[in-house]
């Protein structure tokens, strides 16, 4: 069975929590005691109807304030597939939280209120999904019950959204009319929208093709292996054992492959590939394995082993898209730690090329500093050369984080574009 990670984007008013609740409820993924708990909680509120949104508010302050504070993860499965729902809050600190949640997802559900159509939020969520390289977007047009299940309303929104999608880098867009509150087209087919012939939301999630999760690549992605840890038992019988432990973050490696170790540039060939002492001839992403090389090369954590036939860019001057995630502003000249894969190096922000207006997609020049939730194109200068791929081609080696050296907090999400 395979695994699909998807994010739901939309403000509280769009019915996001209700949609997740409905998906879990109608797919029978809520157990009796959990249901009783929300029934009890619903009764103490107003109209006595079960409030499915209560399922997703996990923290005391969220229940007190009726808002969602942080990303939560939920799990369910059907006979066809396992799912991880990344439930990102729509309200406060939206950009930061959505970026956090979206970074590992293969699909995004963008909720649209049928009464309001495409609004600023829709544009913002779609832009983030596109920047983060999520290959599949489902535009879930919710609250169809409040527009009389009108096919015209649905068609108008589809046309409007398709215009917007043209400006974005999104591979596959699907449109589903539904009512999360009443359960129309979420798990069960709606009897009120006979005109809609497409799949229900769950059918779509169960069948969408996620084989090809990595962006616009026709050819297979290149082999990349950031070294996490060196295994050296140093016992009498394993005196010379030296295994490089890590995860293949993209592509594949075969025994006998010529590899290059970065940043040193030394070359060797793969002598053995192991998982828990079992030898393999070939290993693919995302397997965690141990590699052995034919020659003695100086390798430690932070190095990147790549297939010699397809090497990444190495540079100390990088152009990148940045989502700023801290309340402390990011100013030109500030220094941070840049982490790409397992390697860390100090860097400084050389230039803010432009800030991106997340609602209009306009590029704003002349910006000196970035505030929480701002998106911008920047130039970074690093202390050591960084080996990377463009994020648009390879999420694994193109995604990076900025860390504040004094607070140690992760302050920026970086999507590397290329050499500056």
């Amino acid at each position: 069975m395979d695994l699909l990670r998807f994010i739901t984007a939309g403000s509280v008013d769009d019915g996001k929590s209700t949609l997740i609740g409905r998906l879990l409820y109608d797919s029978k993924s809520i157990l009796a005691d959990q249901l009783e708990a929300i029934e009890r909680a619903s009764k103490s509120r107003d109209d006595g109807e079960i409030d499915l949104a209560l399922l997703t508010d996990g923290l005391r302050s969220e229940r007190e304030q009726g808002i969602t504070i942080d990303v939560a993860y939920r799990y369910f499965q059907t006979p066809k597939r396992k799912f991880i729902i990344v439930d990102a809050p729509g309200h406060i600190q939206y950009t930061r939280n959505m970026v956090t949640g979206a970074s590992n997802c293969q699909l995004a559900i963008v909720l649209v209120d049928a009464r309001h159509g495409v609004v600023e939020q829709t544009r913002r969520h779609s832009l983030i999904a596109s920047l983060l390289g999520i290959p599949h977007i489902v535009v879930a047009i919710n609250k169809m019950d409040l527009v009389g299940y009108s096919q015209d309303v649905f068609s108008d929104i589809c046309i409007h959204y398709a215009e917007l999608a043209k400006k974005l880098n999104v591979k596959h867009v699907s449109y589903i009319p539904l009512s999360a509150l009443n359960g129309d087209n979420v798990v069960d087919r709606s009897s009120s929208m006979g005109w809609y012939e497409g799949p229900t939301l769950l059918e779509h999630l169960e069948t969408v093709d996620i084989e090809d999760t990595d962006l616009d690549q026709q050819a297979p992605l290149p082999g990349r292996f950031p070294v996490q840890y060196v295994i050296r038992p140093q016992t009498a019988e394993l005196h010379d054992y030296r295994g490089y432990a890590g995860k293949i973050t993209s592509g594949s490696f075969r025994k006998g492959d010529s590899v290059t170790v970065l940043p040193s540039g030394e070359t060797s060939t793969i002598d053995a590939i192991e998982i828990a002492e079992t030898h393999l001839d070939e290993a693919v992403s995302p397997m965690s394995v141990v590699l052995h090389l034919a020659t003695d090369v100086d390798i430690s954590r932070g190095d990147l082993i790549v297939r010699s036939d397809s090497q990444p860019t190495s540079s100390q001057s990088l152009e990148a898209m940045l989502c700023w995630m801290d309340t402390k502003e990011c100013k030109v000249g500030n220094k941070y730690v840049l982490q790409v894969g397992t390697s860390r190096t100090r860097c400084s922000v050389r230039e803010i090329v432009y800030q991106l207006n997340v609602n209009t997609y306009e590029e704003i020049d002349g910006i000196e500093n970035l505030k929480l939730n701002d998106l911008a194109k920047i130039v970074l200068r690093t202390a050591q050369p960084v080996s990377f791929d463009s994020y648009q081609e390879n999420r694994a080696t193109g995604g990076a984080i900025l860390i504040d050296e004094t607070s140690n907090v992760t302050v920026g999400a970086v999507m590397l574009v290329g050499e500056a």
């Binding site: 996990g58 942080d70 993860y73 840890y229 038992p233 002492e277 995604g399 990076a400 992760t410």
Partner: protein, 300 residues
Amino acid sequence: MKLDYLDQLESEAIHIMREVAGQFERPALLFSGGKDSITLVHLALKAFRPGKFPFPLVHIDTGHNFQEALDYRDNLADRIGEKLIVRYVEDTIREKKLKEPTGRNATRNGLQTFTLLDTIEEFEFDACIGGARRDEEKARAKERVFSVRDEFGSWDPKRQRPELWNLYNGRIHKGENVRVFPISNWTELDVWNYIRREKIELPSIYFAHERELLIRDGKLMATAGGVIKPEADDQLVTRRVRFRTVGDISCTAASESQASTLDDVIDEIQATRISERGETRMDDQLSEAAMEDRKKGGYF
């Protein structure tokens, strides 16, 4: 080549453990002899063999543990030749003159936090790997894989670090520590399916057996070792049961079951309509935010 979901979860967990090994100086793996931490040990074998673990196994023993789990714990540490550190809640109670909860449903479970924080200080652990899963509880669903705790072990849900792609930021100040949850994305059923696939041995109390119990507030509680003293209106019974989780005896309920093999157990879990913690953990039902409040206090 396409990876099955269990392979994907396994690979992710191994990756997380190796990040701990690469980023921290003095990590530990919290090991109780329950199925989740047993799974962690199995994953650590896959992550680091033929090398030694870069961390000791640490058990915070409440003194109210099932003997079967303790025996399993000691045998496993022995068999794999890794270091096991045990610290006792009993000692903390004595040394710090802590007040033990009394009364009908008294449990030492909450006092574990004190012993855990002392142990972290004693060994200067900067990371503690634990077997918590996000599907267990609604507050857990919000927690990061790398969960930074302050010097009091306290979790602040509003100050969590963004966690992007598969990049984990374990940088901390001295005195802080990180709780790391490699099987965050696993569900109860995933753990059982993995145990079956990997043929991992478990303590016998996970399988159906006859046991003396008392019925209290509708739950079947073990009388093992006299931890729970029967009161006048408690009904003593002998039933065929198994345990779905293995925690402190005083707050872990048994389930009636005929499931004596892994296949039976998995069938039973697939058919159940009650969640793992809902069925077995008395301590989560004390209030709506019981788990969240304990974690803010430094609990795992």
